[in-house]
């Protein structure tokens, strides 16, 4: 049976990995490539490279190329600044295994069709920063700093079978401890779409609850995983009983 995943998120701003709080405040951490190498060795199930300041500049190809050349053996999901089918394809050519799109869903949903023809639906993830207000989901537009209901166009795009998973981002709780609002998942209207939950989903008890939901395929965790030695294994050891991959050191053999 397919296992639930623990994805590690590297949030990148101006080429530097940052700790992010609610997508509003950021503290520098270091070189995203070094962090990616570490997470690869520690056995993260996936690495999400989330470049949050690429709306104007487009995907960070230079960073992707640099990380691609490291030869990591962990799947890479790239998110950030993908504005067209061609940019999504290029991100994969440079080393991403899958891409997550956000602004493309608003600006050019028709491009999703072409992207799917090139990458397959399995290669495309919808990144949706959300919050709940009066029981209704609101979709955050980072560029305009506004929220709006999930529109018909978005719902049709999600339901069309051209996107394989939804990265539901509780942006208000991002960077908080144990803050992910599970009601966001309950309110998400595409019931058969696998979900990656991100944003404050870092406490083992909450992770266990989220991963226990049938439509949650993965929980994504930010910098908590890159600070402590073997953090991935440590966290997974606290998720015993769930269908998650056995955690073990995944790097090259270390000889005494």
């Amino acid at each position: 049976m397919i296992m639930k995943r623990l994805a590690a998120v590297i949030t990148v701003r101006r080429g530097i990995a940052v700790q992010s709080f609610g997508y509003a405040r950021h503290l520098p951490i270091g070189d995203p490539a070094v962090i990616a190498q570490t997470l690869d060795r520690w056995g993260a199930d996936e690495i999400i490279l989330n470049c949050i300041d690429r709306q104007q500049a487009g995907p960070d190809y230079a960073l992707l190329d640099r990380i691609g050349r490291l030869g990591l053996a962990t799947p890479i999901i790239y998110a950030g600044g993908i504005r067209s089918h061609a940019e999504g394809v290029q991100a994969v050519k440079l080393g991403a295994d899958r891409v997550a799109v956000d602004a493309l869903l608003r600006d050019a949903p028709g491009e999703i069709h072409a992207l799917s023809e090139s990458l397959g639906a399995q290669g495309i993830i919808a990144a949706l920063p959300l919050r709940l207000a009066d029981g209704k989901l609101l979709w955050r537009d980072y560029r305009r700093q506004t929220d709006s209901p999930l529109g018909e166009t978005l719902l049709q795009t999600l339901a069309a079978g051209r996107i394989s998973e939804a990265l539901l981002i509780d942006w208000q709780n991002e960077g908080s401890l144990g803050g992910f609002d599970a009601d966001i998942i309950a309110a998400f209207p595409i019931s058969d779409m696998p979900i990656i939950a991100f944003g404050g989903a870092n406490e083992p008890a909450l992770m266990r609850r989220l991963l226990g939901l049938p439509n949650v395929a993965a929980v994504a965790v930010g910098n908590q995983l890159s600070w402590q030695e073997h953090a991935v294994q440590g966290l997974k050891s606290r998720l015993s009983g769930l269908p998650v991959r056995h955690a073990r050191f995944a790097g090259p053999e270390v000889r005494a």
Binding site: I2, L72, A73, P75, V92, G95, E117, R245, A250, P252
Partner: protein
């Protein structure tokens, strides 16, 4: 270990660097090329693939590499297909529209039964006594696909279980296919790739 040269068939499919680095990590050389002369000098051919079947076949045919790969396999040269590269090895696919494949192993590519996708880590179950896969039984590998193979049991080497069993690895003599991304499957993937090179390259 004998150092081998792996010819990564470049037909415009994405993410060639991942497989290239995986083989480098194992101590082998790689040549990424669509040039027959370059690929002729390699010990094993690797057919990578990310994306959709029709576009991949279109690219292979446009570059003439479809005939090259088929001829090489029929001359008993080792050939490994990964993910979409594995699906290209069979007769046809119904992804988006009916498209002919390379026809090196009997079979078709169909939508996954009982699910829309098969994404993430899943355990391999060997279903043959093929030595290439013996050490990988019960190991976890990374899958990322929405279509799956339907091939006769004689060519099945391993399966994975989703809602229904999925063909995860196939083999016909010198031709091997892996539905999962061994190059993205950490230690288990490296061990399997090493066994395949060792087993296929004389």
């Amino acid at each position: 270990m004998t150092r081998r040269t792996i010819g990564i068939v470049d037909y415009g499919a994405g993410n060639l660097s991942s497989v290239q680095h995986a083989f480098h990590m194992l101590g082998h050389r790689c040549r990424i090329s669509g040039d027959a002369q370059v690929l002729d000098a390699c010990d094993m051919l690797l057919l990578p693939g990310v994306g959709a079947f029709p576009k991949a076949m279109e690219n292979l045919i446009a570059s003439g590499l479809d005939r090259y790969v088929v001829d090489a396999a029929r001359q008993d040269r080792p050939l490994l297909g990964i993910c979409l590269g594995m699906q290209l090895l069979v007769d046809s696919s119904s992804e988006y529209r009916l498209t002919a494949g390379l026809g090196l192993i009997p079979g078709t590519v169909q939508p996954i039964a009982g699910a829309r996708w098969h994404i993430g880590w899943n355990r391999l179950e060997t279903v043959s006594d093929d030595a290439l896969f013996r050490a990988s039984d019960r190991e976890s590998f990374y899958f990322n696909h929405s279509y799956a193979l339907d091939v006769p049991p004689a060519y099945q080497a391993a399966i994975a279980r989703n809602d229904a069993p999925l063909v995860a690895a196939i083999r016909r003599d010198n031709v091997v296919g892996l539905q999962f991304h061994a190059e993205k499957s950490q230690a288990a993937g490296r061990a399997l790739l090493a066994a395949i090179i060792e087993g296929l390259c004389p």
